[in-house]
């Protein structure tokens, strides 16, 4: 394998990895605050692409506005899910919330199949994302460059929200001790609602960027990226935002490099990723950046 080819494969890996990273941040954010793996995250991701798609195709809105509305709608959907499905189970055992999360996920997927149909649709992409640039012999798509930039930007925004605002203080308090926070006069339900809005907006952004790279959207598109991002979150340490990014890049690179170096193992690409998940859960459940955590779902 020549140097240029290797570099190209590296870029391919980073490109996929950064998308996983973005999605993993959403998983980790909700987990960090609520201790709940929101399995519906990957379906909100899918909804984001459809919202933006319909804004563009039916209402003929410009690209940036469609994406903005799509992301906002995702936040609304996220809040509705929390209000309808998770809040009534706030004091139920954790396993109930987990099963509900899976149920919500199935519901959204099948709702999508019934309403928009299973046939994939082509996602329109702006030139900014579509153009291909050549760097040291490797060909890099616009979206590959923008995703890490956007992810880092999002990290900054997240950190400033969590560490600089009142809501952020409340969020951290909720994650430490929900009951005591409630006693201090904080409206815990509202804070959790905000957390879901934030996480779901991230899913929406991730969905749109994913569709810019793979311009084919269908109601089940979220499942595999969702599982891989979840794996990335575990590898990085669930609850740790920087770890989630790191995990995303590791999973993306691992996946590309196994196909690049061992073409015979292509069929095991997904199996390989999930083996990493199992190994981490067994050997280092806290992930690379996480602290030793008492329990995991």
């Amino acid at each position: 394998m020549s140097w240029v080819t290797f570099f190209q494969q590296l870029m391919n890996g980073i490109s996929v990895g950064s998308l996983y990273a973005l999605l993993a941040i959403g998983y980790t954010l909700v987990y960090g605050i609520l201790g709940l793996i929101n399995f519906a995250h990957s379906d909100v991701f899918m909804l984001g692409t459809y919202f933006a798609f319909f804004m563009m195709v039916i209402f003929l809105l410009p690209w940036w506005l469609s994406v903005l509305i799509g992301v906002a709608l995702c936040a609304v959907v996220g809040m509705s899910i929390e209000r309808v499905a998770y809040r009534p189970l706030r004091n139920a055992p954790r396993i109930s919330a987990l099963i509900t999360a899976v149920g919500v996920s199935f519901f959204i997927e099948n709702f999508g199949l019934v309403t928009v149909g299973a046939r994939p649709k082509g996602f329109p992409r702006p030139d900014l994302m579509k153009n291909v640039y050549v760097l040291l012999g490797a060909r890099i798509q616009g979206v590959t460059f923008w995703v890490p930039v956007i992810s880092i930007l999002i990290l900054f925004v997240l950190f400033s929200i969590v560490y600089r605002t009142k809501i952020g203080i409340a969020m951290r308090a909720v994650s430490k001790d929900m009951e005591t926070t409630r006693l201090m006069g904080v409206d815990v339900d509202r804070i959790i609602l905000y957390t879901f809005a934030l996480g779901s907006a991230l899913a929406g952004i991730g969905g749109v960027l994913w569709a810019c790279k793979y311009p084919q959207i269908n109601p089940l598109m979220g499942i595999f990226p969702g599982w891989k991002a979840f794996t990335a979150a575990v590898v990085g340490g669930v609850g740790n935002v920087v770890g989630a990014m790191l995990g995303g890049f590791i999973i993306g690179l691992a996946e590309i490099l196994i196909v690049a170096f061992f073409p015979g193992l292509t069929g095991y690409r997904d199996a390989f990723v999930f083996t990493i998940l199992i190994v981490f859960l067994l050997v280092r459940p806290g992930g690379l950046m996480g602290e030793a955590v008492r329990e995991k779902v």
Binding site: T5, N12, V16, A260, T266
Partner: protein, 372 residues
Amino acid sequence: MRKLFAVVLCIGLLLSGVASAQETIRIGANLEMTGAVAAYGQMIWEGINLIREIVGDTVLGKKVELVLVDNKSDKVEAANATTRLIDKESVVAIIGPAISGSMLAAGPICEEKQIPIISATATNPLVTQGKKFVFRACFLDPYQAAAAAQFAREDLKAETAAILSDIAQDYCVALGNFFKEEFEKRGGKVIVEQHCKTGDQDFSAQLTTIINANPDLLYVPNYYTEIALICRQARDLGYEGIILSADGADAPELFSVGGDAVEGLYHTAIWDATRGLNDIGQKYIDLYKEKFGKDPNMFGALGADAYLILINAIERAGSTDPAKIREAIEDTENLDVVTGKVTIENGDALKPVVVRKVEGGKFVFVKTVTVE
């Protein structure tokens, strides 16, 4: 009095039965009119009736009577329907189920009772293997792949090729393997073989390896979604060679997902619904459009082909003896049917494979290929 009436009635019925047996030739249609793949059976039935409007419904001076039995898209029902058609309806030949599974259930019964059966669209190789009375009107995957390889070598002048096929689909794997065999037999070389899996969205690793090997042609015998994404990513990664795919490319999603990346893509197809290859094909297309107001489908066309092959065989056999009809079907050579000229060999249809190219967001006819 009443007894007499009954006797007269019985004699009358008997006579009418004898009379109709002399005047008509009964052909069975064992089709999926309801159930999981009802659309296939209904389209085939539509095609059979349409072609009867064009060529008429008589052969050897007798009227052809079609006896339709619904097999409910079910293997067991398909077997029952076959038995019923042969034993109770006394048909001389059967147009068989659309799908391979049902055809595999119906075939052995026809084999045992020595009644020829022809399926419009069952593509599994096992359907006709080792059987004397079982036929099909469509070509098989190996034949399609061979046609693709011939087109790649003779017309596109490709020296080297890469294959990226979906290992989760028998159809894709088979096409890839047969393409390789035929392409190398014709002096070409397959320099890279890569695989993907149904549902994959990222092909950048495989494509980077392929582009690094720099083949003249990339063969992607997959389904439309994967083909569209592969073309997209191949072009983004700087691949400038030819891309060739198979009949799985034929769906509107190819264009909505692939966009300008699928421009110039070649594919092999069963037929081209916009343009008849012969007189009867054109007539069929015109009449279909007039009646239904849309482009005709492949299933209907192949149903019409099955009917034409049968009628032609009965005519050449000059009799309604099933064994003679069977001989005549096997001897079918260069018969003009809706999808082109067909020759039957060992129960399978050999016919020109249509090659089309994407131009301006739609398929444009390039040529037909007959494997030599």
